[in-house]
């Protein structure tokens, strides 16, 4: 898919995100907006997947796990826009009896979701397990995971990082949403991650860096990442993003991590985001 089409889809997804969280006055718009371009690229261009006939095992498909489950709005919007479930279901986000739980869940059978996430640090292990079964079964498709940078403060991430390198889980591409912000402030102020590139390299991973808002750069980097698969090392991409990307007053701060815009703020946000595919 060409970049212009992807940009149009992402604009609609950003509209969905701010409308969903504003609708229920809760949810996490900041990171969702920041990852809108990456998830659009994954689901509309990169991954081999079957939105119309979702199967839990996902054999012979590329698999995606959202480990930082609080950015569920962007995932739900992308899944709906890709055809996993009706677009108008986005209006049920965080409401009673909805399949679109505050954090992603398999509990109510929402197509496209294979694992609950929200309690941080667990998705890399899950992705590794899935990737190892793919290898066991001779399934050539890949497993993708997404993590917040703040999430890397969880110890389980590093248990998983050590394991994946030792066991040569080389059919896995993990991406870090490297926006430098978390709820309490800048990551460097809350709990610095140090030299993240060196850390992953020291754990035995191939490390790539990309700009999560530049489609050409993302396509090149992900293509390089795919070429690196099968070489005995897991791959991680440090994806530079801007929390709140696309809405001027949500950018440059950590404050919109988990705060929903009020009706006036929503109107301001929507005025900055083109409606390209029709609102839900």
């Amino acid at each position: 898919m060409n970049n212009l089409e992807l940009i149009k889809i992402a604009s609609q997804i950003r509209r969905d995100i701010v409308r969903m969280v504003s609708n229920v006055s809760s949810g996490h718009p900041g990171g969702s907006l920041g990852c809108a371009d990456f998830l659009t690229l994954l689901y509309f261009d990169l991954m081999k997947h079957n939105p119309k006939s979702f199967e839990m095992t996902g054999s012979e498909e590329d698999i995606f796990y959202l480990s930082n489950g609080h950015i569920s709005p962007v995932w739900y919007s992308v899944l709906a826009r890709a055809g996993y479930f009706p677009i108008n279901e986005l209006s049920s986000f965080r409401k009673i009896s909805s399949r679109l739980q505050g954090h992603p869940s398999t509990d109510k059978g929402l197509p496209g979701i294979r694992m609950a996430s929200g309690s941080l640090g667990q998705g890399l292990s899950v992705g590794i397990g899935n990737a190892q079964v793919k290898k066991l079964n001779g399934d050539k498709q890949l497993v993708y995971t997404l993590h917040g940078d703040g999430e890397l403060q969880e110890g389980q991430i590093w248990e998983a990082a050590m394991y994946a390198a030792f066991h040569k889980v080389d059919n896995l591409i993990a991406t870090i949403d490297f926006n430098g912000r978390q709820i309490d402030g800048d990551v460097d102020d809350v709990m610095s991650l140090g030299d993240l590139k060196l850390k992953w390299q020291a754990f035995g991973w191939e490390v790539l860096v990309m700009n999560g808002h530049d489609y050409e750069n993302m396509k090149d980097t992900l293509s390089q990442a795919k070429e690196l698969t099968g070489n005995g090392k897991p791959i991680v991409i440090l994806m530079k993003t801007e929390m709140g990307m696309g809405v001027d007053f949500m950018m440059g701060t950590h404050k919109w991590h988990g705060v929903a815009p009020n009706p006036e703020q929503l109107q301001s946000a929507l005025s900055q985001l083109e409606e390209t595919l029709g609102d839900f």
Partner: protein, 317 residues
């Protein structure tokens, strides 16, 4: 008292090891994960026979649970192995989110449960695990009584789609269940029929309860003895049918009084058939180093404690 045949002396963890190896020969979807305790969990036969399906995770239990959950998504039946302490308390949140809430077909196999782990002491002697696991929605909780039953349960749980917590232990104990007996999840086993008192036990305390019932029968007290190998789902009918005859209950378990088998039984009794009930369990205390049987005696979960509880509960009728 019905005669209970003893087939030998073995540890329940070896039942797990044998069961897993046998199961894996028939079921190619079974994978095994272990956190640096392959020998202690008796997983070596499985590992040697299925090197491509065995995954050493090192001392990283949280990661092990997550990997198992991911393998289950992809259609495998993962069996994780480590001590009960590291299988539950250490990884409760991983089990809660990635296994129980997500309904993944992971079998959490936990050895060295309870006081009978022995000399390693309280850091390793978990007495809260049954409580933690039975509180989780979607979780099945199984505590087999001896070697044969642990082996049978290990094989049977592969046919159950969903999360299972399988708890077993370290000490060598009498083997008294039939090696050919099929294991049925949620179906209690009546070991002796009696009219004076119901004893409901699980794990190593089933044998202790048999000894207690034999002692009591010498004094003319007949015991309805139930091996409650499945704590969840609990066989309520077996409890109520028995209490209909005896009108009093003693529960016996190698677990904290809070949250274990006794509390599960008490919930049934309080709602459906209130009657005197005494607990044989550890009373809000950590364990300590010592020999398994010394610890059972010191912490009040030995044969004579069951006898005393029976006398007390009958006096309350």
């Amino acid at each position: 008292m019905k005669e209970i045949q003893v087939y030998g002396q073995k540890d329940t963890r070896s039942g797990f090891g044998e069961g897993l190896a046998e199961l894996a020969r028939k079921n190619q979807k079974v994978v095994g994960l272990c956190a640096d305790l392959t020998g202690s969990l008796k997983m070596n036969a499985f590992k040697d026979q299925n090197p491509e399906r065995f995954f050493q995770v090192g001392i990283a239990e949280a990661n092990m649970i997550g990997i198992a959950a991911g393998m289950a998504v992809a259609g495998m039946i993962p069996y994780t192995g480590t001590f009960a302490n590291f299988s539950t308390g250490r990884v409760y949140d991983q089990i809660r989110q990635s296994v129980a809430y997500s309904k993944k077909n992971v079998k959490i196999c936990a050895s060295h449960a309870g006081l009978t782990l022995g000399e390693d002491g309280a850091t390793h002697q978990i007495l809260e695990d049954i409580g933690m696991m039975r509180m989780l929605p979607n979780m099945t909780v199984i505590v087999p009584a001896d070697f044969n039953q642990t082996k049978a349960a290990t094989i049977a749980i592969a046919e159950h789609e969903g999360p299972v917590y399988l708890r077993f232990g370290r000490p060598v104990m009498p083997v008294f269940t039939d090696s050919n007996a099929p294991f049925q999840i949620g179906k209690a086993e009546v070991l002796n029929e009696g009219v004076d008192v119901t004893i409901i036990a699980c794990g190593h305390l089933v044998w202790k309860s048999i000894e207690a019932a034999q002692e009591l029968s010498k004094k003319g007290i007949s015991v309805d003895l139930i091996n409650m190998h499945t704590i969840k789902p609990l066989d309520e009918k077996a409890i109520l049918d028995s209490v209909e005859k005896t009108s009093c209950v003693v529960t016996a378990e190698e677990h904290m009084m809070n949250g274990g088998l006794g509390d599960a039984v008490a919930q049934v009794l309080s709602r459906k058939k209130p009657c005197p009930h005494e607990y044989v369990a550890v009373n809000d205390s950590f364990g300590e180093s010592g020999k398994p049987m010394e610890l059972m005696k010191k912490y009040g979960i030995d044969t004579l404690d069951i006898v005393a509880a029976v006398n007390k509960v009958i006096s309350r009728k």
